[in-house]
Every structure is written in structure tokens, then in C-alpha cells.
Symmetry: C2
């Protein structure tokens, strides 16, 4: 499987989110053959909806699936607890992570649950997220539930 | 705080979901004074959307909040990993659980993260969920990511 090619789909979502003024996290769900099932992005700003992270949006767009064990979730940024919980509850078999530099996520917790993790340490993902955090730190911290208002 | 009164709001959502043929889990988010911020229910069946659990729907309906530490999330059923992750990521201070008989949830994991848990062991919640699981086991197992086909 060419994971970089799958990541490009998630990155295009993240970039579209950035251009809309939103939190630039994109994700996509694929079957075991790499066929796209759903793609999505964080919509906190765009829809004023705190419940839509990149991963949950891709999961939604893929519709109801019988099983997720053979599915591949690709995300530009390491999943937060909310999205890690989604992965664990629905037993998503493989998670491809664009980067975990700007947000570390919960890799060990997912591995412990039997999830196969592939980290790509992608320079484009790192740069896009860093740019957003620098220009809109308050929105970023809101998105991960950290209150940084002083 | 009268938690039973808050639970009644979540239960009304669960009951509405049941009457629609959906998974009967309802939830509501309140501020520290018990003022309702958002209410919602599982919409897997109704909207064909696997991403909408009762808790995530109530969270969405409450809109963007600066902090959740002083908020109370009330749910008719013990939260799954997906919803437990939501609670932990956004540091929701208090979670009121209608019942954990039909689904045990992850109480210890939430307590460890500093969440105050109140269990009501509510007979109406138990009976409604039990009725749904008995009549539609395949939808219930799909909703918690368990493949019981075959």
C-alpha cells in the first residue's frame, strides 16, 4: 500500500480547511485495497461545530460499515482522545498518521488496543499545522479543549 | 443539583430516538447551574450517520464553549470509548450516567482523568435500552463496533 498517496487525500482536506480559515486537520477512510470510502476535515470554524474533527468527519462520510477492522484511517495529525476513542470503539484496524510533531496524540494507547499505526512524519503536514497554530493559537487550543485564555 | 431532573431531558431524547426506530441513547449538556446548553440523541439509523452518538450530538448542539470543566454531561447510557474520548479531550467536569447495566462503559478511565462520575442506575433507562437490544441486536452491535454477523 502506498500510504503517502492515501495521505495526499487527507492533506488536500486539511489544506482546504486551512483556506477556509478552519483548523487544518484532514482525514480519509479507505478499505483494505486503498479504495476511498469517505474524506473529511475539521469543521469547528466553518460550521461552528466542535464535534467535527477530521477523523470523525471522514468516518461520517464513509457511512455505516459492518466492520472497520480491515479499514485504513488516514489523518494529517495524530488523533486526540476524542478521535482515538472513535478508532478504539470501532476497531479501526490501521491508522496512518501524517505527523505527531505539533500534537503527540495517544499512539501507545491505540497500539495497546491492537491498532496498527503508521507514522509518516510528513513535512507538508507539519508545516501546515504549525502555520495554523502560530496564526490562530486560540482556535487550536479550543479545538483540543485547552483553555489558554489568561 | 437535581441530577434526576437533568436525566429526564436525556431520557426524553432517548425515547424520541426509540420511537424513530433509532438507538435509544440520549444526552444533554448543562452548565454548572443546570441550565441546558444542548440536547441530542444517537442518529445512526435516522440519519444513517455512525458518527452521531447521544453524547456527541448534545456536545454539537451546545455549540463552541470556552471550557467544559464546569459543564455537566448527562447521558442515558454509560459512554463508549468514542464518547469517553470526547469527555476526556474536552475535560468535561461532570458526567451523569443513567445506567451502565446494558453497557458498562469506561468509568475508571474517566475517573482517572479527573472526571466526576454520577451513576443513577435509572430503571427507565435500563428498560428502554434493554428493549432495543432485544428487538434490534444487530443495530446495537453495529453501534458499538462489534461485528456479530455469522
Amino acid at each position: 500500500m502506498n500510504y503517502e498517496k492515501l495521505l495526499a487525500v487527507a492533506y488536500a482536506e486539511a489544506k482546504a480547511g486551512f483556506d477556509e480559515g478552519g483548523v487544518p486537520v484532514g482525514a480519509a477512510l479507505f478499505d483494505s485495497e486503498g479504495v476511498l470510502l469517505g474524506r473529511g476535515r475539521n469543521r469547528r470554524v466553518q460550521d461552528n461545530d466542535p464535534s467535527v474533527h477530521g477523523e470523525t468527519d471522514a468516518f461520517r462520510k464513509a457511512g455505516r460499515q459492518t466492520t472497520y477492522r480491515d479499514k485504513i484511517l488516514v489523518t494529517t495529525l495524530a488523533p486526540c482522545w476524542y478521535c482515538s476513542g472513535l478508532i478504539r470503539q470501532f476497531n479501526i484496524g490501521t491508522v496512518v498518521i501524517g505527523e505527531s510533531v505539533n500534537f503527540e496524540g495517544h499512539r501507545d494507547w491505540l497500539i495497546e488496543a491492537g491498532v496498527k499505526i503508521i507514522e509518516l512524519n510528513d513535512a507538508l503536514c507539519i508545516a501546515l499545522m504549525r502555520r495554523f497554530i502560530e496564526q490562530s493559537p486560540h482556535i487550536w487550543f479550543e479545538d483540543i479543549g485547552e483553555c489558554h485564555s489568561a
